[in-house]
């Protein structure tokens, strides 16, 4: 690889670098534009320039977005629901994967296929019937209306990843534990679970990425602000402030911020996790 690089002309290297740069600009410039416009006033937007230099930086846009966008409540809801969903997915998928991969029973293959089927079902086809079910059970506008489908649609992937990692965990440890008189549940949660650390990270990241930005189910099953999640800051705002563009830009930037900041900080772990999940899945 090194030698191939050395042989090449410096010009072609520059061209390749420019290709990377151009695509990076395409990917990131809309977000810079968003940030820029969020700090201007609405009147300044009608320019023909690409970016505006605001006469006065309008921090007020953010203040409005923060308060009227219910930012804190929705952020809290998002965090709570996502952490719970991740916890449920991990525990349930470890248990199910262990039962299907390690335990000896006739139906293990069938149950495994059944649970993995969820991966093929389009989420949005369940919106209509689930709405009926949750209404009938009075689950709409409760945390369960989000938690149940979020767990359900992340579970197959979780189980798949846990299962494939579990196969690489040596059985000898468990055998030794059995001889020492360890029960099944303790084997799973005290001995095997720590060995699955890498896949737990991957499953957590994938589950989080899947559900953090979800709003279709949320907007179908929720009508009061009580459990609404972060995307609603944006959804509700655009109606309310339809003519005040600058504030709309601010609420979008604000709502995007938590995920982007966390991503930049944990960038290495997240890319590794996604890569592992995607390649295995």
């Amino acid at each position: 690889m090194e030698q191939a690089g050395k042989k090449k002309h410096p010009i072609s290297k520059v061209i390749l670098f420019i290709v990377l740069l151009v695509i990076a600009v395409i990917q990131i410039f809309p977000l810079i534009w968003l940030l820029d416009f969020s700090l201007a006033s609405s009147n300044e937007m009608f320019t023909s320039g690409l970016l505006i230099i605001p006469e006065k930086i309008q921090w007020g846009n953010y203040a409005k977005a923060f308060v009227d966008g219910n930012f804190l409540l929705y952020l809290k809801n998002s965090l709570l629901i996502n952490f719970l969903a991740v916890a449920f997915v991990i525990v349930i998928s470890i248990m199910a994967a262990f039962a299907c991969k390690r335990m000896q029973w006739k139906l293990s293959g069938l149950v495994q296929t059944l649970l993995l089927m969820g991966m093929m079902i389009p989420i949005h086809a369940t919106l209509l019937p689930n709405y009926k079910i949750y209404s009938a059970l009075h689950l709409t506008d409760t945390i369960w209306a989000l938690l149940i489908p979020y767990v359900a649609f992340s579970l197959p992937q979780g189980m798949f990843l846990m299962g494939s990692f579990l196969e690489s965990v040596p059985k000898e440890l468990e055998e030794a534990a059995v001889i020492d008189g360890c029960g099944i549940y303790r084997i799973i949660f005290i001995i095997v679970t720590p060995l699955l650390k890498a896949s737990i990270t991957t499953v957590s990241i994938m589950t989080f990425l899947n559900n953090w930005n979800e709003f279709m189910m949320a907007s179908t099953y929720l009508s009061t602000p009580k459990w609404k999640t972060l995307p609603f800051s944006v959804l509700e705002f655009t109606g309310e402030y339809s003519s005040n563009y600058a504030v709309q830009f601010a609420v979008m930037a604000l709502t995007a911020a938590p995920a982007v900041i966390v991503y930049i900080i944990l960038n290495k772990h997240i890319t590794k996790g996604v890569a592992m999940g995607a390649v295995k899945g």
């Binding site: 030698q3 990377l20 990076a24 534009w33 039962a99 079902i121 019937p129 549940y185 930005n213 991503y263």
Partner: protein, 291 residues
């Protein structure tokens, strides 16, 4: 050990939570959908059994076929535009060492962690004819006209651009991981044989990436089929159903047109299409190539 590992009660307790979630959140709604698909239920009042009426209507519903055509277009867009660029970028990135590599990888992926809600509204602004970014960019390159990006003729391309842009980082990352997994010895051997980087890419990188490409292409086709969120917020299928996608269409039929029964019938057909396409892609088309 064997006895303990085949204890039925323990096994049952381990798979029960997963099965319950599956039954309640996936299987039950599908069964309910199948039932409502056979009725003329409007969302309120009584549901009357009408047999296959909904499915007969669906067979002649041009809007539904438009939505499938749009999914197909999107899949083609992913495969012919997003993926080739992603592979090339991943290959260039692989040769880059040090900080720049990490920087670019991070930048490419950022749009992926942003909510579709934000992405859709942001692009609505980008396409805005009055102050939108895209028309200003064209102006900067000397084009004087004002393009209405979300007009009937352009809207589907506008939607495609957003989706290709948004998912780029994800596809790139998977290709990048695939390329990183290629044994460097092969590259060294190629260099010793005097192969230039273009030949190396075509003769070594691409063939070895075949399994990764297959997985990625499969996922792209399925996600094109399942597309809903971006379209729902960006155009809601309009103007005049030009940018309709199946999931969005069934949602509209049920909640806007008050044809809940019909919406469910679309849902059932939609699920079947997704299942068939997934199974076909995984087992028939790609398996045969491998043999």
């Amino acid at each position: 050990m064997r006895k303990m590992y085949s204890n039925k009660l323990v096994i049952f307790s381990l798979v029960l939570p997963g099965l319950l979630v599956f039954l309640f959140a996936i299987l039950a709604p599908i069964c309910l959908s199948v039932y409502y698909g056979f009725t003329d239920y409007s969302g309120m009042g009584k549901a009357t059994w009408i047999g296959f009426e909904n499915y007969k209507t669906l067979a002649h519903d041009t809007k539904f076929f438009t939505s499938l055509k749009n999914s197909f277009l999107l899949a083609v867009g992913f495969i012919c535009i997003q993926h080739p660029i992603a592979i090339i970028v991943a290959a260039i990135l692989d040769k880059l060492q040090g900080k720049a590599e990490g920087f670019f990888r991070c930048v490419y992926f950022i749009p992926n962690v942003i909510s579709v809600a934000i992405i859709a509204y942001l692009w609505k602004f980008i396409y805005n004819p009055d102050f939108g970014l895209l028309n200003n960019v064209l102006k900067a390159f000397g084009y004087q006209g004002q393009i209405n990006w979300l007009s009937a003729d352009n809207a589907i391309w506008a939607v495609l651009i957003v989706l290709i842009w948004h998912g780029f980082g994800w596809g790139m990352l998977i290709y990048y991981t695939g390329i990183k997994n290629i044994d460097p010895v092969l590259y060294e051997a190629a260099a010793i044989d005097g192969s230039d980087s273009k030949t190396t890419f075509l003769r070594i990188t691409l063939p070895l990436m075949k399994p990764v490409i297959q997985v990625n292409v499969t996922m792209a086709i399925i996600s094109a089929l399942k597309q809903m969120e971006t379209v729902y917020l960006l155009t809601n299928g309009g103007p005049g159903d030009r940018t309709q996608f199946a999931a969005n269409y069934l949602y509209q039929q049920a909640f806007k047109a008050f044809k809940y029964g019909y919406g469910n019938a679309i849902g059932v057909v939609f699920i079947i299409i997704c299942l068939v396409v997934t199974v076909l892609l995984n087992n028939v088309i790609f398996r045969q190539e491998e043999v």
